[in-house]
Amino acid sequence: MEKVFGIPEGMNDKKTAFCPGCTHMTAYRLIVECLNELGERDNAILCRPIGCSLNADGSFDIHTIQSMHGRASAVATGVSRMNPTKTVMSYQGDGDAISIGVAETLYAANRGEKMTAIVINNQIYGMTGGQMSPTTLIGQRSTTGVRRADDTGYPLRFAEWLGQLEAPGYVARAALYTPKDIMQAKKFLLKALRCQKELGRYSYIEFLSFCPTNWGVQPKDCLKYCQENVLPVFPVGEFKSCF
């Protein structure tokens, strides 16, 4: 019988420390699958952040460089400038890339660094226990309060912002919710990586992700929650495409 689904080459079945229902590993899986398809996994360097994504330790075979909180795009800039033939990626959460590291993320995009920025947008700080993040929705509860527009502002639509810049070659947002969403996410990620590899341009891709633990939403209820609350604020789609 033909095997049609399994652990992709470059990943293993090691148990990770992610919470049940988290979609971080889906994002990692897509990265590994796309790099495999492009034949780039042995030519890739991933700059990873401080945050939940560290729970993936040892579960995939991509050379990684640890970065300080918020600075993965700056680290990737140095890596990429010194290794222009590599596929260089940053992988960060929304608090990491869009709050503390917003300058680094924005300026790497504006310089058009030859890299792909991958941002997991789950509308909360996961690793530190559920504080308000730059993408927390209006009315959403967090351990540092309920977001209200009049004192904490609005969730930041960063992909839309970057989509208006001249330098980036590809800017998109996808969801890691349903199988259909995930297939679309993979299609977008492939384009992002190809934009970097083939055209030498900057790509940004945001993945909408579940955080059942810190949202206080059961994993089985996450899909409905997101369709009703997240997608209206963070629409999926391509905001800029060089293809």
Binding site: A44, I45, C47, F60, I62, H63
Partner: protein, 348 residues
């Protein structure tokens, strides 16, 4: 022998870094280091295999340096006092991940761009949080600034550490003759076999791939510091051998004091100068070996109030029965040659 050139301190530092094999520089404008950034901006992107990036901040710049270095390239940044504070987190990170970096700090006062030595504690005592310490060079001439930057890259590679070259606005803007060392081929740089180069199958590396981790890494640093103190400590001895009144000072202030010592020697006064050229490792031994039967008084000079260097001198003296006088200026005011002379005359 290479041709002597007339160069400004900051430019000599920048050119010497290129010659030492610096492949990557990221920096943010701040007085009085701007000429380093400007010099490299003009040259570096036209040189094969090298890159210059003007960072959007000091925070971004040091992180770019971290990335370039972690990925295998000799990398440097230059900044001044305030910018240094912004770099603290990643400097600590470089140390804890054993990613080499060369930093030129062109010291300035808090409230003005005038020269100062007030970063002494910041740099020599701890790279931000965590307590790791960098190797610290303290030049006093343009020639020494260029030579020390050149050597800094080798030390950073050998020990996988952060190396500081601590100049200031005076040295950075001083124009002197300098004999620069030759260009090194980028292909001849020591190989960084630990740097990620794209994955080998089944090979996951993290965090700039420290060769050791956890407490072993911390213990290794102590071994390195002891090795530095044994093998790398440098002091300039200027008429110190028979001095009865001895000046202890570093960098620009030592240079100023030297002219006062020279003048007083011309009058037959037995004064001398001991100038640390490395501030970490600190020349504890040279100071401990000062002969209390000959030296009647020690004068510690620095451009820093609250006093910083003074306390290291006191520690090194270890309670030796020699009276110590301290004299300093701060907030953008420097110890002048006249002040140094006046202080020395009082003690003679």
């Amino acid at each position: 022998m290479a041709k002597k050139e007339v160069m400004q301190g900051n430019e000599a530092v920048a050119e010497s870094a290129l010659r030492a094999g610096c492949r990557f520089f990221a920096g943010y404008p701040i007085t009085p280091q701007s000429e380093i950034t400007e010099y490299l901006a003009l040259k570096m992107n036209d040189m094969p295999g090298r890159a210059f990036v003007q960072g959007e901040s000091e925070v971004a710049s040091i992180n770019m340096v971290f990335g370039a270095s972690a990925a295998g390239a000799r990398a440097m940044t230059a900044t001044a006092s305030h910018g240094l504070s912004l770099m603290a987190e990643t400097l600590s990170f470089c140390a804890s991940q054993t990613v080499p970096a060369v930093i030129v700090d062109v010291g300035r006062a808090i409230s003005s761009t005038d020269p100062a030595q007030t970063n002494y504690n910041f740099i020599t005592k701890s790279l931000g949080h965590g307590g790791f310490r960098p190797f610290c060079f303290a030049p006093a001439t343009v020639q020494e600034s260029a030579d020390m930057v050149y050597e800094a890259f080798d030390i950073a590679d050998k020990y996988r550490c952060v190396v500081f070259v601590m100049t200031d606005g005076m040295l950075g803007h001083l124009i002197e003759t300098v004999e620069l060392k030759p260009y090194r081929e980028l292909a001849d740089m020591p190989e960084r076999d630990w740097a990620p180069h794209g994955c080998g199958r089944g090979h996951v590396t993290h965090g700039g791939t420290p060769y050791i981790r956890g407490e072993a890494l911390a213990n290794r640093q102590e071994e390195i510091y002891a090795e530095w103190e044994r093998d790398y400590t440098r002091v300039e001895d200027y008429y110190a051998a028979d001095a009865e009144v001895l000046v202890l000072a570093w960098g620009t202030v030592a240079r100023t004091a030297k002219s006062a010592v020279k003048k007083l020697r011309g009058e037959g006064c037995r004064v001398g100068l001991l100038r640390p050229q490395t501030l970490f490792p600190f020349p504890n031994r040279a100071i401990r070996e000062i002969d209390e039967r000959r030296v009647r008084h020690i004068l510690v000079l620095e451009d820093a109030i609250p006093y910083q260097f003074y306390h290291d001198v006191m520690y090194a003296l270890g309670g030796k029965p020699i009276p110590v006088t301290r004299y300093a200026r701060s907030m953008g005011v420097q110890v002048s040659a006249e002040e140094a002379e006046e202080q020395l005359r009082r003690l003679l």
